[in-house]
Amino acid sequence: MSRVSTATVENLTGVDAPDRFWNRERRLGAGVTVIGLIAAVIFGPLAESKTARFTLSTDATGAALSINGQFGTILFGVIALVLGAVMLTGRAKRWQTLLLCLGIAAFVLSFLCWQVAGKFMPLVDTLSGSVEYALPLILGALAGVLGERSGVVNVAIEGQFLMGAFGAALVGTLATSVWAGLISAMIGGLIIAAMLAVLAIKFLVDQVVVGTVLNLFALGVTGFLYERLMQPNALKYNQPPQMPRWEIPGLADIPVIGPVLFHTQVLTWIALILVVVIHFALKNTRWGLRTRAVGEHPTAADTVGVRVRGLRYVNVMVGGLIAGAGGAYFTLVSTGAFNKNMTAGAGFIALAALIFGRWTPFGALGAALFFGFAQKLAYFLSVAGSPVPNQFLNMLPYIATIVAVAGLVGRVRAPAADGQPYVKS
């Protein structure tokens, strides 16, 4: 709760007060410079002077972008260094976000050149893998966007994933239908969301606390039923059909992007469409305006006749449906059977994506793709026998989020009333 200050906006007198030298731009610039330096000076000498091939297919064949590994490592490191230096001058304030993104991208490229030197990396495989890993994260983060923009913190995404995954496996197997599985996954997510909504909105329990407890509850219930039902009789209960890959003729033939985006599971399309729809609706519809008002200043919304609690219920529940669908990914797309605690923290990465993406659908999409890429890269490198331990790459989403919320990369601002139960005075 910050006091609204209405002090003057314009500066009437000429009293001079120097700006702080280490403003945000310079701090970011320093960061980018440092990673550029690391890339050029540490990665560079470590990299082999062999060709790094980035093939435009799923294997070693076909056309490829090639570069000498050591040269590429140093080149991109230097690029990052230069970008950081530009930011350090403090003259490129308008472009700082772009420069920051470019700087990080250059660092990633430098790292890739080092790792791939003397080997190849199939770009299509990497990209479609990234999208696949990102899929549940996108859906989970969207669930979070819906809840949190209306003021309900959703820490229970993990629990919704688990219930969704379990529901999809159980009903999908019994009904031998992917779609029945998907629908029951959504219902699974809805159950947890409904518990969250009732406890948080009606009974005013701290939302973070209740979300955490619900995660443990979902973990327990699915684990218990798994051990009682599925483990003894996997054929009957735990062999769900797999979601088919569909192809859009024509579009699927576009190089690289085609196979990644247009020859894939329906769930990917659903996720991407939802990103666009929610973005548009939040911005341009009555529901969106009211949702944002309820998340920012519920009392104001109430005094003009908006049903604060009702809207929060709706948003949390719809979020539950979406997160449940995200849970279906684990059993219907990824592994093919339910397993105890199979989501292994994906719900929290989705939460991280939500925050990293600053509570916006497209931001969440971007963050989810970035985290998905990190996971795919970790997998690729461990298979390729890289000296970099995959555990450290898997830490990337978590550390990136810590850096983000600590305000080192742009100010992250949650909806003002996020997490506050609404009680009439």
Binding site: S5, T6, A7, V15, R286
Partner: protein
């Protein structure tokens, strides 16, 4: 409204109140803080539901379960704390809840029509607002216009204004009163909640006075101020603070060239020079939000300063921690009592040592001395007339006045060189106001330098020996309390005699 009764636990906030508002009249609801005015109106607006009694609109008994019902019945309200979403534009705020949409069930916002509606209403009633400005960037006066336009776009017959003048300069207040008059002449009814007698007399057609949740009388605007005050408080009160001539001594606090930013990084204090002398009260007058808060916070080490210097008896305060400043003999009564002044969940005794808990005799760096804390508390409770069931009662259970007395008792129970009191009597009953004022003067007479900040001009004039008028982060002038109110009022609006700066007109 007939026989309205509302209870909060044991407290009866409204006790069988009857009130009738005729079409086209300005009906003033007068009462001191905590008398139950806002509670009553929140029931009329559907935010609260009465325990007993009924609301009759145009001869029809109605039950308002939520503001939705009240709006439908043609009732609008401008709240004391503005109900605007800071990150929305003016147009979005006005649209919220009554959006113009197209696309049927999709409910796509029709921003153009919405914007046009805002401009139309704004023009019709002569209330200029910029539909595309972000509310958080607007000054308070403009936010209030937005609130009024918001209510008017909903075609209200009855408009409730809850303490609308608290945040306005005297000139802005006059403009608002004129708007109220013209609305009433246009056939709308207005309920005007206030505790300021002058305004009531200027605008009201009829006055209902409420005291401790009961209607104690109705009056016409030609009743004298003294009579109204007596009705409001229940006894005759002297609004004057009795005090002798000050005998100022050495300079205790000297500030020069101080620049401070607010939370958003916007400059709030803009080159302030100020001296407070021992044995005098320096009052800072000004409409809220002109940098007073930031100035005081900077002195207390609660806010970083951009440039400038502050010294207490020659020792620089810049960069000192709040703890050290308090320890060097500065007493501080913060403006927002419930947020900064007391910890409501703590007992009276704990609150009385809130800034001394780790000093003997109350404790040391490691542990507390509960016995000493409780003994001191018992003493203060009698000395400062704090009405609490016991010293172990949590402060949240006390009335506003008694909470404030806890703060004052804490700050004045140690030797002081400088006392800073921000809005020392905001939201406090008249009895406590008198007590707190006399304590402040008593402290002055002991030779302490006192800095009082208040947005109530009456309070500043009553207490201060010199008045500094603050406007947009600057001290415009330092004047004597004998200066005519109107001139001080002009200064508060930023008008410094003949050389009024034109740019300030258009900024509003």
């Amino acid at each position: 409204m007939r026989g309205i009764t509302k209870r909060f636990g044991d407290l009866v906030a409204n006790d069988h109140i009857d009130i009738t508002v005729e079409p086209g009249e300005v009906h003033a609801l007068l009462g001191e803080n905590g008398a139950g005015k806002s509670t009553l109106m929140n029931q009329l607006y559907g935010l609260l539901q009465p325990d007993e009694g009924e609301i009759v609109v145009n001869g029809e008994a109605k039950v308002f379960r939520s503001p939705r019902d009240a709006i439908a019945a043609g009732i609008g309200m401008v709240h004391q704390h503005f109900m605007l979403v800071p990150v929305f534009t003016v147009a979005e705020n006005i649209a919220l809840g009554a959006e113009d949409v197209r696309g049927g069930p999709l409910g796509i916002l029709d921003r153009r029509r919405n914007r046009r509606d805002v401009l139309e209403t704004s023009k019709k009633y002569g209330l200029p607002v910029d539909p595309d400005a972000l509310v958080e960037d607007l000054p308070v006066g403009a936010q209030q216009r937005v609130e009024i336009v918001k209510a008017l776009t909903r075609d209200v017959d009855l408009l409730i204004l809850d303490e609308p003048t608290a945040v306005l300069t005297p000139q802005e207040t006059d403009e608002l009163l004129a708007v109220m008059r013209s609305l009433a002449e246009g056939g709308k009814s207005i309920v005007f909640i206030t505790h300021k007698l002058r305004e009531v007399k200027a605008v009201a057609d009829r006055i209902t006075v409420i005291r401790r949740g009961r209607t104690v009388g109705t009056a016409s605007p030609d009743t004298s101020e003294d009579e109204l005050a007596a009705l409001m408080v229940g006894r005759s009160v002297s609004l004057e603070v009795s005090k002798t001539q000050a005998e100022p001594g050495r300079d205790v606090l000297s500030i020069s060239g101080l620049v401070v930013d607010d939370d958003r990084g916007v400059r709030a204090v803009d080159g302030v020079d100020l001296t407070v002398r021992a044995g005098e009260v320096l009052g800072i007058a000004g409409v809220q939000g002109n940098g007073q808060t930031e100035l005081v916070e900077a002195i207390m080490g609660l806010r970083a300063l951009r440039t400038g210097s502050m010294a207490l008896d020659g020792e620089s305060l810049a960069g000192m921690s709040t703890k050290k400043i308090l320890r060097s003999g500065v007493g501080y009564v913060p403006e927002d009592r419930s947020l900064d002044g007391v910890v409501k969940e703590f007992s009276v005794a704990e609150n009385l040592v809130l800034d001394m808990y780790d000093r003997p005799p109350f404790g040391n760096a490691l542990r507390l001395n509960t016995k000493a804390i409780n003994e001191a508390a018992a003493e203060r409770v009698t000395q400062f007339d704090i009405r609490a069931s016991s010293a172990t009662a949590t402060v949240g259970t006390l009335s506003g006045g008694n909470q404030q007395k806890v703060v004052v008792a804490r700050e004045m129970s140690r030797p002081l060189r400088l006392l800073i009191a921000s809005q020392p009597t905001r939201g406090v009953d008249v009895g406590s106001i008198e007590f707190i004022h006399s304590q402040i003067i008593h402290e002055r007479d002991n030779g302490t330098a006192v800095l009082v900040v208040s947005s109530e001009l009456d309070e500043v004039v009553g207490l201060a020996d010199r008045i500094a008028v603050m406007y947009r982060g600057r001290i415009l002038a330092i004047v004597s309390p004998d200066m005519p109110r109107e001139e001080i009022g002009l200064l508060m609006a930023g008008i410094t005699g003949a050389e009024a700066e034109p740019e300030e007109e258009e900024a509003e």
